[in-house]
């Protein structure tokens, strides 16, 4: 598990690559702009620019550095990738392709047939295909193996019917990795199949999901006799759960590596910062001398610092094998807890000064953050707690026959029965 210190090729080759990358990036990639979001699907121009950036990387010979040459990659080892990301530190990278690179490509490499790999990996590398994951359904978010979208084989096509929700950027994606039920007479994990679906195909209708704040990066999809070619099954029919597990593992690994902070996590020592924004708040509220207000800010300093140090510790520890990969679930849980606690502290700090947005501002307020911060996307904290408890701490599962009885004999939502 520990990182090897010997590059796979000569150091000269690596240095040459690094210099070429430096030149290419300087000439071809836009700079990273402080405050610009990694992903914001509502800002269509950002999405479009990321397609161009990925296309530029492809044309410059820097796409898919560690991926096999057979699928359009460069076939180099991870030192080349690290060198590239070192050099790219100051550049805007195509973060809207994060899902495609971090989840879809590993999944295709592990479970995809040659047709899929030959067609879709280069599609990503060329900046043509942005991918989403069609997993959650309105009838149940946390219970992923309980999906009820049906897929039936008719001739050369699987015909999919059902609905999906919480799809990140669904409106702007080209392809999706979609979980559906192919045999409801089997226990719930056994009758699932994973498909690669065309988001632009007839039978797929996509609508944005309006959230509390009034906007959203998420979509809902209705699949109405959506036809998927038989060779677009990823893995084997009725073995979709195997694919889900490696897909989730790829996602967690990428998060533990620090993907949510960009595509790369630096291994340098973090430092404890005391964000000036909290100090500014104290001053703006004229509470610099209020010992209670200072307590709130002091705690905000601590939770932010601990979260940052923990994320980095987990990322480094998982990478060098000092921590089990399940430690990633601890960092996810802490992200949720820290974000929610921060809104409590800042609401208490602001009182009535926090419950409105000043006209002409960005519409935001600490009160609105308090209303809107829940961290449900990506699994509820209940699911994360179960993951930490069962997988990281080894606590026993709850007794259940849910995994053994046929799917179509399970109890389901009462409101659907009535």
């Amino acid at each position: 598990m520990t990182a090897t210190n010997t590059p796979g090729r000569g150091n000269e080759e690596l240095e040459d690559f690094r210099l070429r990358a430096r030149r290419f990036l300087r000439d071809n990639l836009p700079p990273r702009v402080a405050g610009e979001p990694f992903m914001d699907w509502e800002r269509k121009e950002l999405v479009a620019r990321d397609r161009q950036i990925q296309r530029a990387l492809w044309e410059g010979g820097f796409a898919g550095i560690t991926l096999p040459q057979a699928y359009g990659g460069l076939g180099l080892d991870h030192h080349f990738e690290e060198a590239f990301y070192d050099e790219a530190e100051g550049c805007r990278l195509p973060w809207h392709f994060g899902n495609a690179f971090n989840v879809v490509i590993p999944t295709l490499l592990a479970h995809g047939n040659e047709t899929l790999k030959k067609r879709y990996i280069p599609g990503i590398l060329r900046g043509e295909h942005i991918w989403c994951q069609l997993l959650s359904e309105p009838s149940g978010g946390s219970d992923l193996a309980g999906v009820s979208t049906r897929a039936e084989l008719r001739g050369e096509h699987w015909i999919l019917n059902g609905s999906k929700v919480w799809t990140t950027g669904g409106m702007d994606c080209d392809m999706g990795i979609c979980l559906a039920r192919t045999d409801p007479t089997l226990p719930k994990h056994a009758g699932l199949t994973m498909f690669a679906v065309d988001m632009k195909a007839p039978g797929m209708s996509i609508s944005p999901l309006k959230l509390i704040r009034g906007n959203s990066d998420f979509c809902q999809e209705f699949l109405d006799d959506l036809a998927v070619p038989a060779d677009h099954v990823i893995g084997e029919p009725n073995d979709g759960w195997t694919v889900v597990r490696s897909q989730l593992a790829a996602e967690h690994a990428s998060m533990a590596r620090g993907w949510h902070q960009g595509l790369k996590v630096t291994a340098e020592a973090a430092s404890v910062e005391l964000p000036g924004k909290y100090v500014d708040m104290l001053r703006a509220l004229n509470l610099e001398k209020d010992s209670h207000a200072r307590q709130l800010v002091g705690e905000a300093f601590v939770i932010d610092a601990v979260y940052k140090l923990t994320t980095r510790r987990v990322a480094v520890g998982v990478r060098n094998g000092a921590l089990p990969h399940t430690a990633g679930s601890v960092a996810s849980l802490m992200a949720a807890r820290t974000d929610v606690r921060r809104t409590e502290l800042l609401s208490e700090l602001h009182g009535p000064a926090g419950i409105y947005a000043v006209p002409g501002g960005d519409g935001n307020s600490v009160g609105l953050d308090r209303v809107c911060t829940h961290r449900i996307g990506g699994g509820t904290t209940e699911t994360q707690c179960n993951a930490v408890a069962e997988r990281h701490l080894g606590l026993p599962k709850e007794p259940s026959d849910d995994n053994t009885i046929p799917f179509n004999q399970r109890k389901i939502n009462s409101d659907r029965e009535s």
Partner: protein
């Protein structure tokens, strides 16, 4: 010690709940929110006909104060209005009617009380200074004596329904810090309203600026420089009504959340059978019961002018405000993704709860006030 202690009060609760269910359900609140039109005037007028404000108005001025439980009855109504996140100006109009009945001259009572009871007049209160720790003390506005009367200067913050109000109950301090109160129309010269963009979408919020607003002697409510005690009584009433509303918000959210978790299945079980949710819901029910007890006691203490009324009102406000937010936030979480969507009603409740926690003195302000009441 229940808020409901008499048959009349139980009837009042039933009547209000039926009325609200029919004429002002949460769907009506959502329509108000989505249209951006504030509250629906016809529902408000119908509520007034049921005596919503008249219960603070003596019979001589067209009210029913002699036959009601005052703050206790108003708290019963406020709780029901909380259950639908009612957008109308119940609290400020009750407070204004109470203030005038409590401290107004006969002429003021005759001029204002019938109008308030019947909805010909819509009042809101201006007193709170902007900033994080305001909401329970006059301090925003400065009053000076002039030859012919008074002049007001300053900016009042946290004014609810300011745009719909046609009159303001204003509390100001003079140079010495003595408290005076005034009643004035919204179009008084020098008065301007600056609407804010509140997180509670069901209720408008504004700053009201006073630039040399000149008033005659007849605008004075109570004695000049001696209105501190009457302001305190009004504050206590406001705290009781807002706390009761927060109880109503919480009660309704906990109700539909319990329904939801009993019906929603995951992993082959209703999610309400999972212990993590059950235990959190048990604590929520416990804190809500605490809020009910605190509000019921405060309503009675305020109604009776009991020695512990000030402390009881702050206890009710601190507890109900804090736990309305905590409970509703967690209930939203228990709904999973659906609770995060605009279409689900729960965010309307949470928005109101977060606003209530902050307005009329945020929780820290009431903890601090309790220390002062304990003479420390």
């Amino acid at each position: 010690m229940d808020v409901i202690v008499t048959e009349d009060q139980r009837m009042l609760q039933d009547t209000t709940r039926r009325f609200v269910h029919k004429r002002a359900p949460i769907e009506a609140t959502r329509r108000c929110v989505e249209s951006g039109q504030g509250f629906a005037p016809e529902t408000w007028r119908e509520g007034l006909e049921l005596g919503w404000v008249a219960l603070f108005v003596p019979e001589a001025y067209g009210g029913i104060a002699e036959y009601t439980g005052g703050a206790i009855d108003a708290a019963i109504i406020a709780e029901e209005l909380g259950r639908v996140v009612y957008p109308g100006p119940f609290l400020p109009n009750c407070v204004a009617a109470f203030a005038i009945a409590d401290a107004g001259s006969p002429a003021q009572q005759a001029a204002w009380l019938p109008a308030l009871a019947q909805g010909e007049c819509l009042a809101s209160a201006c007193f709170a200074a902007p900033g994080p720790r305001g909401g329970i003390e006059p301090g925003a506005l400065r009053v000076s004596r002039t030859r012919s009367g008074y002049v007001l200067e300053g900016t009042a913050s946290g004014v609810q329904h300011a745009e719909q109000a046609d009159h303001f109950l204003v509390t100001a301090l003079d140079e010495q810090g003595a408290v005076s109160q005034f009643l004035l129309p919204f179009d008084a010269k020098g008065l301007t309203t600056n609407p804010l963009d509140p997180i509670d979408l069901g209720r408008s919020l504004a700053e009201v600026h006073f630039h040399g607003v000149a008033l005659g002697e007849d605008a004075l409510l109570g004695a000049h420089g001696a209105a501190a005690a009457q302001f305190e009584r009004q504050l206590q009433l406001a705290l009781v009504l807002q706390s009761a509303e927060s109880v109503g918000l919480t009660d309704r959210v906990l109700e539909f959340t319990l329904d939801y978790v009993k019906q929603r299945y995951a992993f082959g079980r209703p999610i309400g059978s999972f212990q993590a949710l059950k235990h959190r819901l048990a604590y929520h029910a416990m804190q809500l019961e605490g809020a009910r007890a605190a509000v019921a006691h405060a309503a009675r203490a305020v109604r009776e002018g009991a020695a512990d009324a000030a402390a009881a009102a702050s206890v009710a406000k601190a507890h109900s405000g804090k736990f309305a937010t905590e409970i509703i936030r967690d209930c939203l979480h228990m709904h999973g993704g659906i609770g995060m969507t605009w279409e689900h009603d729960i965010h309307l409740y949470l928005r109101r709860a977060v606003a209530n926690e902050a307005l009329w003195g945020a929780t820290p302000v009431h903890y601090e006030r309790l220390c002062r009441l304990a003479n420390v």
